[in-house]
């Protein structure tokens, strides 16, 4: 079993962000019951209460669209205006974030969230850096929709 907890901690250290969260379904094949299962740098335990849906919230939008989502200043976008729709942002007082889709079985099943508080900007190169970190995959997941990724990996 992949050690998600240490991996998430390591990601936070490597990227130098305030918060890292991994949204995972309880069963990867049925993709049901998605929660923020592993977090690092959290302010409180409220994230445990959130049950994600595939079409709402930060992770929901990324799962649905299959694309990464970067917002360098939420006060300038809808996320800041409707924070109640993005509970993880609200509970953790996040001000900027990058959400990265993780693929398995040719579907987006998990989401990695890198975020900062107190208007600390994300580094200019964060997108490239994260891409590089995830190049070889993350646990059972792969970073993009590559049909043969699993085969090439091993």
């Amino acid at each position: 079993m992949f050690d998600y907890e240490s991996a998430v901690k390591q990601l936070q250290k490597d990227m130098g962000v305030d918060f890292v969260g991994l949204a995972l379904p309880s069963n990867l094949k049925s993709e049901q019951d998605v929660t923020w299962k592993y977090v690092c740098g959290n302010l409180n335990e409220r994230y445990k209460r959130i049950h994600l849906r595939r079409d709402s919230g930060v992770a929901g939008v990324v799962m649905k669209t299959g694309r990464k989502w970067i917002d360098r200043d939420i006060s300038k976008t809808d996320v800041g205006e409707y924070t109640y729709k993005f509970p993880i942002i609200k509970f953790e007082n996040l001000t900027s974030f990058l959400a990265e889709p993780l693929w398995k079985y040719n579907k987006v099943v998990a989401v990695l969230l890198f975020a900062n508080r107190n208007h600390t900007p994300l580094t200019e190169t964060i997108e490239a850096d994260v891409e590089k970190l995830l190049e070889t995959g993350f646990g059972p997941f792969y970073p993009e929709d590559v049909i043969n990724f699993e085969n090439t990996k091993g």
Partner: protein, 348 residues
């Protein structure tokens, strides 16, 4: 100079007789001592009664003050000096219907303390205003309805159709699967179907929970509260003593929708972590007391609403259907409490 004065007298007399504006001259006992033609033609009917008492009160039903729409409190005719400019007053016309007028009153100097009351019919303006107000509300309601349809249609298109498409692709893939990967493929398809079922259930629940009709208020509320907790990560404390008691469909729907709206407002605007919801049947069983409370930011009731303003309006309209009363209490920095009191009639 003298000739000119005569002219003004004649002019005033002519104006008094010919103007459409109703002019009434009152003495200090508020008896009508003279009316012009315009006033007579409208207010003439109660002539006999007027002849005996000549009191203004036989035709006047009251005026509009900050206290009430129609009131006799601080009567304009008793203390005209308290009245600034024009005011709205209601008088009976010939057909005994009450008509709104814009009135102004002047107290003449001199020992007789005569007062001149002039009236202009403003029922047309009021009607126009009402129509405008109605139009505005209708526009908002139509917008809200359209938005709701948009939401449902988008959900059907984005989640249901999307998942069905996935299943279709999976079916096609099955043809080319070898024995080995067949099991995994089938498992994935099963997952897709389970998600599809969840989605449809959720859409149907959000439109109107069937549990409200089948299982009653408290069951429907519990599932709605659980969903709100999961979606928005808030903590809801729910108290009730109604168990699985059933009420008329109107009452159950009203309670459910008011709680739904109030909880959503609390989630959206209050910034509160906790919401307290209670549905309590009073010990004598005559009323149902509903309350939704948060300890969040609160707001000023006079402020322009942050949203469309339809939410609170809808709560009031809905509760009126079941003769309920909605009471909104909010304090900045302390929180908001919405309470709904419904008289219970005969159980269905």
């Amino acid at each position: 100079m003298k000739t000119q004065k005569v002219d003004i007298d004649a002019f005033m007399k002519q104006y008094f007789d010919e103007t459409d504006e109703m002019i009434l001259i009152l003495n200090r006992f508020n008896q009508i001592i003279k009316m012009n033609n315009a006033a007579q033609s409208v207010l003439h009917n109660q002539y006999n009664k007027l002849e005996i008492t000549k009191s203004l009160c036989t035709i006047c039903t009251g005026f509009t003050s900050p206290d009430a729409q129609i009131t006799c409190k601080n009567c304009f005719a008793v203390s005209p000096s308290n009245i600034d400019g024009t005011f709205q007053v209601f008088m009976r016309d010939k057909n005994n219907t009450v008509v709104p007028y814009s009135g102004s009153i002047v107290e003449l100097s001199g020992r007789e303390q005569l007062k001149v009351l002039t009236l202009q019919n403003i029922s047309e303006q009021i009607k126009t205003q009402e129509i405008l107000h109605q139009k505005n509300i209708t526009k908002k309601i139509i917008n809200a309805q359209e938005n709701e349809r948009k939401r449902v249609s988008r959900e059907l298109h984005d989640s249901v159709v999307q998942e069905l498409l996935n299943v279709m692709v999976d079916f096609r893939l099955l043809k080319y699967q070898g024995e080995k990967s067949m099991d995994k493929q089938l498992e994935l398809m099963e997952g897709t179907m389970a998600r599809l079922m969840d989605d449809i259930r959720r859409i149907s629940l959000e439109l109107r929970p069937s549990s409200l009709d089948d299982l009653g208020l408290s069951a429907a509320l519990r599932s709605h509260i659980k969903m709100t907790e999961q979606n928005f990560g808030v903590d809801v404390e729910f108290h009730t003593n109604i168990k699985d008691e059933r009420y008329t469909s109107e009452i159950e729907t009203t309670v459910y929708r008011v709680i739904q709206e109030a909880m959503h407002n609390a989630v959206k605007y209050s910034n509160s972590e906790k919401i307290f919801v209670s549905v309590i049947k009073e010990s004598l069983g005559n009323t149902l007391n509903v309350s939704i409370e948060d300890q969040g930011d609160g707001f000023l009731l006079d402020d322009t609403p942050k949203g469309t303003g339809l939410g609170l309006y809808g709560m009031k309209e809905r509760s009126e259907i079941v003769n309920g009363i909605v009471d909104i209490h909010s304090e900045l920095g302390k929180g908001t409490e919405i309470s709904l009191t419904i008289p219970l009639g005969v159980k269905s």
